[in-house]
Symmetry: C2
Subunit: 253 residues, 2 copies
């Protein structure tokens, strides 16, 4: 495997009781997944764990050794239930320290917003040795230590942090995808899908059924890092669907 | 701990490349989480893994030994990328067999829909020893084997399967919750939240900030299995917020 063929992988650890209780519908998995695609990094596993030191620590240690990057969302705010920094520091065996630049950012941010109290100063705490992921929206920065990137749980703030990381992480070939879809029952084209995939060894085809207005449809997503093979695979699939008499739409429906 | 105090736990394993690529935003985590709350079962971990035999198998074996129940979503359809049954069977060390009742259900369902072909018959395959989770929407049933409950990835079909499981799983005390919220910066009430939580040992308070129309607010979610202590905790928190001069709303905003 040459350097350019190396596949870069990432895991996402979503930290938060509010996701596990169903109170809050997670928006970060899809957001981080899409962003990683563009960086040439594959999101390969997601875990959601509660706001508990040991559960966060176990997950961090399992994921940071298995993947190139581990992103976390949640638990870096000012309140008592924000324990992600403590949990990651404990997992890494380093103390928690006040990051001077984070403190300065927060002092500046809260100058016109009531001043920097003890709770707000919590957001300057980092595992020793960490760098900051700057965030213009709320002042409080994200944290980067080793291959771990810690972000806020609020999706709009996490988005700002991803934005400031854009282009800064080493990645590989971007996974390209094309979608073909129509009012097709996937169970009627299962053989075709399997054969087309087998004929294109660097492509993967996913089949995603949907049900709308009492009708059954499916989208077929073809993924490859090779643009030519991707195009050839899409052509072959479209030909096959046409020969079977299906109406379909490149781009999916 | 008495029998009624036993906490019943569950994990959810979301199986699907489409979630990890960001193409599809997961809806099953929140759906399963909310449903479990009502059954008196706590969702304690979620993992999302790709459509790969070994990755599904590893996760199944890790989760089924750690929790009372493991739910899976995705990968039980008719196409080549639907490998969840094979992966779970391999993880359990049992063969895959055609379930006669599932076959009968599918034969009946497809009588008026083009007949039961090989692809559709795939949806009657189960790990040996499994029972079915009946589903009126699409014909194809979910699968129950040991403490593993396998459901469809399409949220509306997963919902049908959950519905047919309602009241059938042993659970414990239901985790109750109340929300109090307002245009409050959580960093201004962090001490109050911590003190109120410390004063109610069977309650947990989560603090969830939000940003809307350029303003900052927060919802505080108080959780307990004890209705009296929950009510007392909510009262104490509301008194504290009132004394600090905040406008807030029981029920949250």
């Amino acid at each position: 495997m040459t350097q350019t063929d190396r596949i870069w992988t990432a895991a996402l650890l979503v930290i938060g009781d509010e996701i596990l209780s169903g109170r809050t519908e997670d928006r970060n998995i899809a957001q981080v997944a899409k962003w990683l695609q563009v960086q040439g990094i594959r999101l390969t596993e997601v875990r959601v764990v509660p706001d508990k030191m040991d559960r966060i620590g176990e997950a961090i240690n399992a994921l940071r050794t298995a993947y190139d990057y581990v992103f976390t969302t949640g638990g870096i705010g000012p309140t008592h239930d924000d324990i992600s920094v403590d949990a990651v520091a404990a997992a890494l065996g380093v103390p928690v320290v006040i990051h001077p630049e984070a403190r300065a950012i927060l002092e500046d941010y809260y100058t016109t917003r009531g001043g920097l109290n003890d709770a707000r100063l919590r957001m300057a705490r980092v595992p020793e040795g960490a760098d900051l992921i700057v965030n213009r929206l709320s002042g409080a920065p994200g944290i980067r230590i080793g291959n771990i990137l810690m972000m806020a749980g609020v999706p709009s703030i996490a988005a700002q942090m991803l934005d400031s990381l854009t282009g800064k992480l080493e990645g590989g070939a971007i996974l390209l995808s094309e979608t073909v879809g129509g009012w097709i029952k996937e169970s009627e084209v299962a053989d075709l899908l399997r054969m087309v995939e087998q004929g294109h060894s660097h492509c993967q085809i996913g089949s995603y059924p949907f049900f709308r207005d009492g009708r059954t449809g499916a989208n077929f997503v073809i993924r490859s890092t090779d643009a030519d093979e991707l195009a050839s695979c899409v052509d072959t699939l479209c030909e096959g669907l046409g020969e079977l008499g299906f109406d379909f739409t490149p781009g999916g429906i």
